[in-house]
Symmetry: C2
Subunit: 110 residues, 2 copies
Amino acid sequence: MNENFLHKWKSQVKKGTLAFIALNVLKDHEYYGYELIEQIKKNTRIEIAEGTLYPLMNRLKKEGLVTSKWVEQTSGIPRKYYTLTNTGEATLSEMSNFWFDLEKSIKRIS
Amino acid sequence: MNENFLHKWKSQVKKGTLAFIALNVLKDHEYYGYELIEQIKKNTRIEIAEGTLYPLMNRLKKEGLVTSKWVEQTSGIPRKYYTLTNTGEATLSEMSNFWFDLEKSIKRIS
DNA sequence: CATAAACACATTGCATAACTATGTATTTTA
DNA sequence: TAAAATACATAGTTATGCAATGTGTTTATG
């Protein structure tokens, strides 16, 4: 029923949500980009395209919410690991407040 | 803490969410635009600018999720009332599934 | 009584972010 | 030896929230 609208809508809902999810996953563990995609898929069944994740992580880095470091591998391509900063943790906390308020509001009307 | 990022982020989260909220509010009651803004504010504390709501309702109408009818007032400007269509109800139901799945996923990682 | 605020509709232009497509390069599997 | 998986990245398209602006009516207020 209105498959096209639903498809577009789901993509719109991901705006902002993906940043929130990525920060949450990085909260208690550091991951490199490709691994983050897998972790998010495993934990939330949400599939993030690489073309979505890498620009997202660059934005989060630019905003000072995460830092990154290159880690050379004994074999293969070096991996870029992301860690939450203090600002990142504080910001995530505020994001959680907003998110759970929104949840409650939506439960109230649905 | 990163007030600017938070501001932008909240605006991004609203993308898609506002359509979901508007449809939910229209589920058991028909409202006109200006009234919808008030109802949403009252029930969710979320403030939608008029420049956000009117284009949103036009999109929902174009997608066939709502219909609208002008109602003349004995005094004052005529009001445009919105009603959910059958397609709108069915689509809202699918949106709810996606939303509550997303909620659960985020609870799992936060 | 005049003026501001609230009511009620609408559009334009900007900023942001997800997604598709594409690209590079290495390693593993079939 | 070719394909798939790993691992990074960017460019262009598309959708939507929001500020600014516009029109016109009704109600409150000083």
